[in-house]
């Protein structure tokens, strides 16, 4: 049996795939739209609710997740044949945790205030369903380069939603974007108020819900038949 499986693998190696072939590009593009981890798979919701009050922390959070997701996919894919199947979750967790600690230290060193705002949520990337899901579903069965791209793609898909949600919440909740005032003073004088609900966590759920709504009405394929 082992001979049978190794043969096609050795044949595949002979065909050299271009670095950004159509298949590989699809790995990055898909999570941004039809297979988005948040709006389609509904994973990673917890941090999407918690860190999206303002754009800046969610931007940093998105970057952190992209880095962790891409490199953990890469590392796990590199050693995927050496990991005993029974303890694979522990091995994966160790790799993710190591990367998260690295990211956390970098954040503390260079963007201390944002790292303070994100508090436990950087540490909680370890338990982010998106990362564990990609490791199990993709990295364990694919070669390093596609796995890396898949990690980048899913991290980006997560990041895009995070930034969209946080932009809506910061704009309506604080009248600012990235900390700069967007809503003019004249509007406040005319009786405009910041929306306090936008700062509360339920608004993140509502905005994610609206995004899912928009995506599904644009792409009918995503609607389940009942």
């Amino acid at each position: 049996m082992s001979i049978e499986t190794t043969e096609p693998l050795s044949k595949q190696k002979k065909i050299r795939e271009p670095f950004l072939s159509a298949k590989n590009r699809k790995l990055v593009k898909d999570p941004l739209n039809d297979n988005n981890p948040i709006t389609v798979q509904v994973l990673g919701i917890c941090s999407a609710l918690a860190v999206t009050v303002k754009v800046k922390p969610s931007l940093v959070m998105a970057l952190a997740v992209i880095v962790v997701c891409a490199f953990s996919n890469l590392v796990v894919s590199l050693i995927r044949n050496a990991i005993p199947s029974r303890i694979r979750i522990i091995v994966q967790l160790t790799i993710v945790a190591t990367l998260v600690i690295l990211v956390d230290q970098v954040l503390k060193a260079y963007v201390y205030d944002v790292s303070k705002q994100l508090s436990v949520f950087v540490g909680l990337i370890i338990t982010n369903c998106i990362i564990m899901g990609r490791l199990e579903a993709f990295a364990m069965g694919n070669k390093p380069w596609p796995a890396f791209l898949d990690g980048v793609g899913n991290g980006l898909g997560y990041g895009v939603i995070l930034i969209l949600v946080s932009a809506v919440r910061e704009l309506f909740g604080n009248g600012t974007l990235m900390g700069y005032q967007v809503v003019p003073d004249a509007m406040y004088k005319a009786g405009y108020f910041n929306n306090g609900l936008a700062i509360l966590p339920p608004m993140a759920l509502i905005v994610v819900g609206i995004l899912i709504w928009i995506q599904r009405s644009r792409n009918r394929k995503l609607i389940e038949s009942d």
């Binding site: 009786g191 108020f193 929306n195 306090g196 609900l197 936008a198 509360l200 509502i206 709504w213």
Partner: protein, 390 residues
Amino acid sequence: MKPLRRFLDNIKPSFEKGGKLEKFYPAFNAIETFLYVPGDTTLPGSVHVRDAIDLKRTMILVLLAMMPCLFFGMWNAGYQHYLSIGVAGTTLFDNLLFGATKVVPIVIVSYVAGLSVEFLFAIIRKHQVNEGYLVTGSLIPLVMPVDVPLWMVAVATIFAVVIGKEVFGGTGMNILNPALTARAFLFFAYPTKMSGDEVWINTSLAKGQQLVDGFSGATPLGNAAAGFADKIPDFSDSFFGFIPGSIGETSTLACLIGAAILLYTGIGSWRIMLSVFIGGFLMALIFNLIGANTLMQIDPAHQLVLGGFAFGAVFMATDPVTAAQTNKGKFIYGFLIGLLAIMIRVFNPAYPEGMMMAILFMNVMAPLIDHYVIEANIKRRMKRKKISNE
């Protein structure tokens, strides 16, 4: 009425299939069926029993039941305003007129904003305009403070209709009461304009006027939550509604007139209304026996006539879509609303008005209650079957 009918018949072809304005058929249909009972007959092969009263006629009756609250609310807005600036001896008409200038714009904004959204969805989704908004559009102004900015009413209305109703599929499919969704949205989004002591009474001053000494614009419940036992109005004032509060909620008497209309016509559920009051009374009684703070010390019967308790019980809790559907479920649903409303009032000084939260919470729980009522019924009957088999 003849010319109106003729006019509708004249413009009808351009809205029908192949006409120039085919897209806007739902809008035309809504206006036509609102004005006239539709002439359609049941297709052969389907159900033949038809009630003379359809959804639009039902909604009109609910609107009628709300009129006492609306007019009292207008009068009270004027009364409270003149009271706050110390003008004595204003006539009924003065008060009503002043109130109308404040309340009518809110009603108009609520209807325009809500109906625009409804018509938009009807045209996009190609279905008829839902009748439900006729009632929601009047309920929203009644649960707003007099001084709420009009743009906030518009934003809240749009939010409530889209997020509270349309995402679930429109009238009859919503989980939360849309009018209370609008209020809850404003309550959390703009707390400075929805609570506190500045919004319940209009204190705009003309030249040479000033507020009376010792004026406080807080609602009785707000005062009680702050611990001012002496500022709680006596029972009859609270019952008739000469107190500050949201536009339609202050007068328990007006709510009871509405309740009578709803019960007589069979539209409102007496099970829900009764059990809300029983739940509220029992909870208030228990707290009264403990009596640890000002809110607890309020007489149980007095609790029921303060704030939006009566209004919520009559018009909000009985909403047939969001309430429990089974008869036993209705008792449980109502009882828990009353219980929770008083509990939230007493335990959470930040929300002295617990009725809104209690109803919204029980709206979410209503399907669960129904589920268990039905399950219990199935179990009971299965048991009976087993016994008779033996």
